[in-house]
């Protein structure tokens, strides 16, 4: 059953040997030339399954990967019950929202400590389970790096996601994320990363600060 037709992958809810699973399939994109299209889809299928596993080593909950079929650019993984953080964040009481964002920040810190960059940190890629666990999904754009720049961009994306979808609570949420992040990576690294985020924001067409 087609659960979601995303921009780059289709998610199907299937039964797989008695397990409720998500089959994530990356179909060919007609707009790309075939060679580039295949490269991107293969690369992402491999990196996604690898980094979902690496994230677990970092202590970050992710779905269990059951099977990877590179040729069919398909991953079969555990179906995670719960709600996207995107759906619930705006309606939470302020204290709960801060606590949730704080925890998200801790998890991002754990990923970064283990050299994993998610590269698509949005609240739709985080699922809150009925057991109050946050599960990170969609590692399609993820990469391995410990560079400050890449970490900064990762968190910058988180901020941007908050700005576009949770614009009423941006400051509150992002501050909480950074608090949690700081607790995990330490003050020194956190302040370097924060500096980098400001630099990234100032670099492009981002703020009117520089006059």
């Amino acid at each position: 059953m087609l659960l979601k037709k995303g921009a780059e992958a289709n998610l199907y809810l299937e039964d797989w040997h008695g397990n409720k699973v998500i089959m994530k399939q990356r179909p060919p994109k007609k707009y790309r030339v075939p060679k580039l299209d295949e490269e991107i889809r293969f690369y992402r299928t491999i990196h996604e399954s690898q980094n979902i596993h690496k994230a677990k080593e970092a202590g970050v909950p992710t779905p269990t990967v059951f099977m990877v079929d590179i040729a069919k650019t398909t991953i079969i993984m555990e179906f995670v019950e719960g709600k996207q953080v995107k759906q619930i964040l705006n309606d939470l009481p302020s204290e709960d929202r801060k606590r949730l964002c704080n925890h998200i920040g801790e998890l991002i810190g754990q990923l970064h400590n283990h050299g994993i960059i998610h590269s698509d940190l949005t609240t739709s890629n985080m699922i809150l389970t009925p057991q109050n666990k946050i599960v990170f999904v969609d590692f399609g754009l993820s990469e391995r790096s410990k560079e400050l720049e890449v970490r900064g961009v990762d968190l910058h994306l988180m901020k941007r996601a908050l700005q576009s979808t949770h614009y009423k609570h941006v400051r509150e949420c992002f501050d909480a994320v950074m608090d949690g992040y700081t607790r995990v990576v330490g003050d020194d690294v956190a302040s370097e990363v924060l500096k980098k985020i400001h630099e990234i924001e100032r670099r492009g067409r981002y703020v009117s600060e520089r006059k």
Partner: protein, 341 residues
């Protein structure tokens, strides 16, 4: 809600954010009467802000006169003066702003400061008949994926470093191409790319819905130096990678916002390959694909005039003493009281 002082009201818009000085005149009922564009073409290299501003100051009188002549509108028929207040290059913006202030105070009519990026979207909606699109705005200075949500044009994705048009222009100059009047560098790259066949691997950088083009540019220029591949193949590969990135983030924004239109605008919008990619995505999502015609996709005064009208109708005007230019005025800082739909 149209407010008319006489039978028909007009707005004169001045655009001068970068290398173009342009004057457009629009009527309150959405007709573009004229759109005169004078482009500054550097002898070599990219845009020098001061040189471009000098060009603008030189041609301002002539362009204004031509606009009035073509529109068959008299000075006293103008009810508002709009100008691009930012974002853009300081000296260029200030030249346009000075002309706008002078006109507004001479005619004793309200002055409206328009955000250049908002204007690109609004003129696109007007002339390409889009209602509530996901907009991909690609030019020499900007690369933005945006859609209207809660009183603003929210930025869903944008470049983390250089604009895609800048990437193509710099590459073209490194490849020894020279800009000519009526033949932008991007068009030359497009022409060469159409004869390329072999895809050479180049860095493809998408982060969330943001993009990066600087690494791609460096790698493509390196391929030129290596001299192992034909320039046609390098152009082909550069375009394929850059445009696939743009199309991917546009598709993500479309899926995310669940809107049903894609609007393509900006100087790079003229590229047929980019158009065909976005059209393919639109079809897949059963969305309409709208591309802004070239004269309104490039920087132009008509878009400033039309957006000035929308702003004025919603009581947004700017006292002359507060009409400073805003070099880094973000698209999503601007409240849009006239709504998205």
């Amino acid at each position: 809600m149209l407010k008319r002082r006489s039978a028909v009201s007009y707005c004169l818009g001045i655009e001068s954010t970068a290398d173009d000085f342009s004057v457009g005149i629009a009527s309150f009922d959405g007709k573009i009467l004229t759109n005169v564009i004078s482009a500054y073409v550097p002898e070599k290299g990219g845009i020098h802000p001061r040189e471009a501003a000098r060009h603008h100051a030189e041609v301002a009188g002539k362009v204004l006169a031509e606009a009035f002549q073509r529109a068959k509108v008299k000075l006293q028929d103008i009810h508002i003066i709009a100008f691009s207040q930012g974002p853009g290059l300081g000296p260029c913006l200030r030249t346009g702003a000075t002309a706008a202030r002078a006109l507004a105070s001479y005619l004793r009519v309200p002055l409206v400061g328009v955000n250049h990026c908002v204007a690109h979207i609004e003129i696109g909606k007007l002339v390409a008949e889009a209602r509530d699109p996901v907009t991909l705005y690609v030019s020499g200075g900007n690369t933005i994926v945006s859609a209207f949500e809660a009183e603003r044009y929210r930025v869903f994705g944008e470049t983390l470093d250089i604009a895609v048009g800048n990437c193509l222009d710099v590459f073209a100059r490194k490849a020894g191409l020279h800009q000519e009047k009526g033949m932008p560098l991007g068009a030359m790259v497009e022409e060469l790319a159409s004869r390329g066949q072999t895809l050479i691997p180049l860095p493809y950088t998408v982060k969330g819905m943001d993009l990066s083009f600087s690494g791609l540019l460096t790698a493509a220029v390196q391929l030129l130096h290596d001299e192992k591949h034909s320039v046609e193949d390098v152009c082909f590969s550069l375009q394929e990678v850059a445009f696939s990135m743009l199309t991917e983030v546009t598709e993500r924004a479309l899926a995310h916002t669940e809107k049903s239109e894609i609007l393509l605008t900006g100087g790079v919008a003229a590229n047929k390959r980019l158009q065909s990619m976005l059209k393919s995505v639109a079809e897949e999502h059963k969305a309409r694909f709208c591309v802004v015609p070239k004269q309104y996709a490039l920087d132009n005064g008509a878009m400033i005039a039309w957006t000035g009208i929308l702003a004025y109708q919603h009581h947004v005007t700017l006292p002359i003493e507060k009409s400073f230019v805003k070099l880094k005025w973000r698209l999503d800082e601007v409240p849009i009281p006239w709504g998205g739909g």
